[in-house]
Symmetry: C2
Subunit: 117 residues, 2 copies
Amino acid sequence: MAQYSEALDGTALDGVFAALADPTRREVVRRLGRGPMSVGDLARGFPMTLPSFMKHVRTLEANGLIRTAKSGRVRTCALRRDRLALVDDWLAEQRRAWESRTDRLEQFVTDPEEHQS
Amino acid sequence: MAQYSEALDGTALDGVFAALADPTRREVVRRLGRGPMSVGDLARGFPMTLPSFMKHVRTLEANGLIRTAKSGRVRTCALRRDRLALVDDWLAEQRRAWESRTDRLEQFVTDPEEHQS
DNA sequence: GCAATACTTAGCCTCATGGCACAGTATTCG
DNA sequence: CGAATACTGTGCCATGAGGCTAAGTATTGC
């Protein structure tokens, strides 16, 4: 329950969205969707040095999007779906809001001249 | 159709996620979910100066999340739901990937010691 | 045990972001 | 017309993000 201490306040969304705002990190998430992988294997194919790549891995972990564990000299990464669900939940909340007020104001700004005050 | 020229390459996600990574901007999106609003009205309640706030508005517009139009001295902002759908689509794609490979590897990194190669 | 492997740490650089103040423009109201 | 309103433009500043190189540590294989 209290498994992820940073996960529960609204602020977590900042980190999750920020983490996903980088194409390298989104690609990592995509690859990990196919299953866990070592840092080295993950890094293959990205046009950057390992230290740079590791920063992305840490960003993803710091924001809870992946989980990593080291065994021997290899660090294995795995996706945490529950964390992506945060984004899903936020989107769902917005959708609920739009749907509750129907399309009354739909084309408002399309022709703003007719509406001022 | 070709209404929004920046919207169509994969790179658009960078901007959309980045735009949503800020709590001020997410709140703006949330408020606009209730209907269009002027910049001044939107800005009310945020602890920052108007020029600072305007930067957020422009970021949101630059990344297609809102649409704005000026009428007289008032600029009115409205949400663009289609753009948030980009996020939704990306998430859906990830989910499809997880679901296609069932939970065979589910608890891999939970106990990494038992698995190394 | 020595070498290769797989990260990891440290330090540096550049650019982008988010905030500010202050001054300017354009509408609208009296 | 003059003042108030609602942005808008400019320039500055501090921080953080994302990249690099170079050197270090810990495992594993020969």
